[in-house]
């Protein structure tokens, strides 16, 4: 694979995953990112996201069940799981932990250009307090030694927001406490009438 892969995240998945993190500020959260590899074969476009859980992230049953159902649902539209988002429990913890890496490895097996994303708490804070034009996420990709490394630290930006207004829209939703409407897979397992696809979230 010559050259680094670029990642483009759409407004809807971007807003979804961050609202999910804000809904559960006291705990670590994670989400699956859905999308496809574009025809240029160097850009992965993230078109949707499924928030997964906000408790006991290190356990497998709910994760495996979610992976099966998410893959089943989105493959009908030619999409697959292309990434994983993790948000740490503590504000000043900005490392991609072991649990996150393991889940990332699992997704990588099915989509060799999968990336892992870590919510950047400091950037999110600066977004809520003022302006922030970059995505509030850190990008991690798998290198040749099979470990996850933060990408784009040398100044090149491999992650970008598809719609430049995404941060503005996100800030708006934060002010209106839109996170209350987000449903994750955990919520669904506790009450199956709740829809982890969040079909009406942006209506």
């Amino acid at each position: 694979m010559g050259g680094d892969c670029k990642y483009e995240i759409g407004q809807n998945p971007y807003v979804k995953i961050i609202l999910h993190a804000l809904k559960h500020r006291n705990s670590a959260v994670n989400s699956l990112l859905i999308g496809r590899l574009l025809d240029d074969e160097t850009t992965v476009c993230i078109t949707d996201a499924v928030p997964l859980s906000h408790s006991q992230i290190g356990l497998l049953p709910a994760l495996e069940l979610a992976l099966i159902q998410v893959e089943e649902h989105f493959s009908a539209d030619g999409l697959s799981i292309v990434g994983y988002l993790h948000a740490n429990e503590r504000y000043d913890d900005n490392k991609l932990g072991n649990a996150a890496r393991k889940i990332g490895d699992h997704i990588f097996r099915y989509f060799p250009r999968a990336a892992a994303f870590l919510l950047d708490n400091k950037k999110l804070e600066s977004l809520t307090k003022g302006k922030e034009s970059e995505p509030v996420l850190q990008l991690y990709t798998r290198d040749s030694s099979k470990s996850w490394r933060q990408a784009g630290t040398d100044g090149t930006s491999l992650l970008k927001l598809k719609e430049p207004t995404a941060n503005v829209v996100l800030k708006d939703y934060i002010l209106t406490e839109k996170w209350k409407d987000i449903v994750d897979f955990d919520d669904h397992l506790d009450d199956i009438s709740k829809d982890w696809l969040n079909p009406d979230l942006f209506k």
């Binding site: 290190g58 356990l59 049953p61 159902q69 503590r90 000043d92 072991n98 397992l189 079909p199």
Partner: protein, 302 residues
């Protein structure tokens, strides 16, 4: 750990209070009783009452409990001036109090003054070496600083003395899971099942850890505990029903090609799958029911 009925009551009271329908004190008491973390709401409504001198005097002695509750909520929301004011009022009313001393320690923790907080707790522990809340605060202190192994050590020592503290066992189990130390987490859940054998959530958590550990024996035991969860919850726990299905698939994968005797001949999985299909048809959003049916068909359970 809150049951569905109580969770609904909290939601109802919260929305009632939000729309100005009263019931604020009831809400605050319920949140306190269930030990829920709803700090932004508690801060908002608690301050409303505290700022209103009429409402405050109506509370009588409970006023001070409210000060404590609001102080903690304020710390959680990073409103340190409000927290400081509440603690000051409590200090005036109860000088030299251990309970207020603990709050002072928590305030130091909240503002990130870790060393000062530790000193404060240690000082209080000199006179009260067996105060459970203080000992557990030291575990929280370590956890807040990201020192999970220290937190685990402190909790282990604590549980040697206070082995009936279910919350501490659960916290320790969750800490172990976060470090992928599943065997140790399993041990904690075993203790919880021994102490509270009729609480289904312990059985469920134990099954989930065993499933995560993998291996034929663990998967078979996990299936048993998913089954006991179903038993204890009258078949209403979705995670347990799914758990039976997932265990069956995993066991079949592990025993592929082995003797038929080792294979699981029970009808449990098809029963569980049948219940799931029925429940999803009745309660789940329209697009999720067929998805579930396809998933279970692919697992060869229906």
């Amino acid at each position: 750990m809150v049951g569905a009925k109580e969770a609904n009551l909290v939601e109802r009271l919260e929305s009632q209070a939000e729309h100005g329908g009263g019931g604020v004190w009831e809400y605050l008491c319920l949140v306190r009783k269930l030990k829920l973390r709803r700090s932004d709401k508690v801060l908002k409504y608690g301050l409303q009452i505290l700022k209103d001198s009429k409402a405050r005097s109506k509370l009588g002695g409970e006023e001070w409990t409210l000060y404590e509750q609001v102080a903690i909520a304020a710390m959680d929301c990073h409103c340190f001036s409000v927290a400081k004011d509440c603690v000051k009022s409590l200090q005036k009313k109860f000088p030299e109090s251990l309970r207020v001393g603990r709050l002072e320690g928590m305030l130091l923790e909240a503002t990130g003054s870790w060393e000062a907080a530790e000193k404060a707790y240690d000082r209080l522990l000199e006179d009260n070496p067996l105060d459970q809340v203080l000992l557990k605060r030291k575990a929280s202190l370590a956890k807040s600083q990201g020192n999970t192994s220290a937190s685990v050590e402190i909790l282990n020592k604590y549980l040697e003395i206070f082995m009936a503290d279910y919350d501490a066992w659960r916290e320790l189990a969750e800490l172990y899971v976060s470090q992928q130390m599943y065997k140790q987490a399993a041990f904690c859940y075993e203790e919880l099942i021994l102490c509270q054998p009729t609480v289904p959530l312990h059985h469920l958590a134990y099954a989930e850890v065993l499933y995560t550990m993998g291996g034929l024996e663990n998967l078979q035991t996990a299936k048993k505990y998913y089954a006991s969860t179903i038993d204890l919850t009258g078949g209403k726990n979705t995670r347990a029903l799914f758990g039976i299905c997932m265990c069956t698939v995993a066991i079949n994968q592990v025993t592929k090609g082995r003797n038929k005797e080792e294979k699981d001949g029970s009808e449990l999985q098809s029963l569980a799958a049948g219940v799931l299909v029925k429940e999803y048809k009745q309660k789940a959003p329209k697009n999720l029911a067929p998805l579930l049916t396809t998933t279970l068909k692919n697992m060869k359970l229906i």
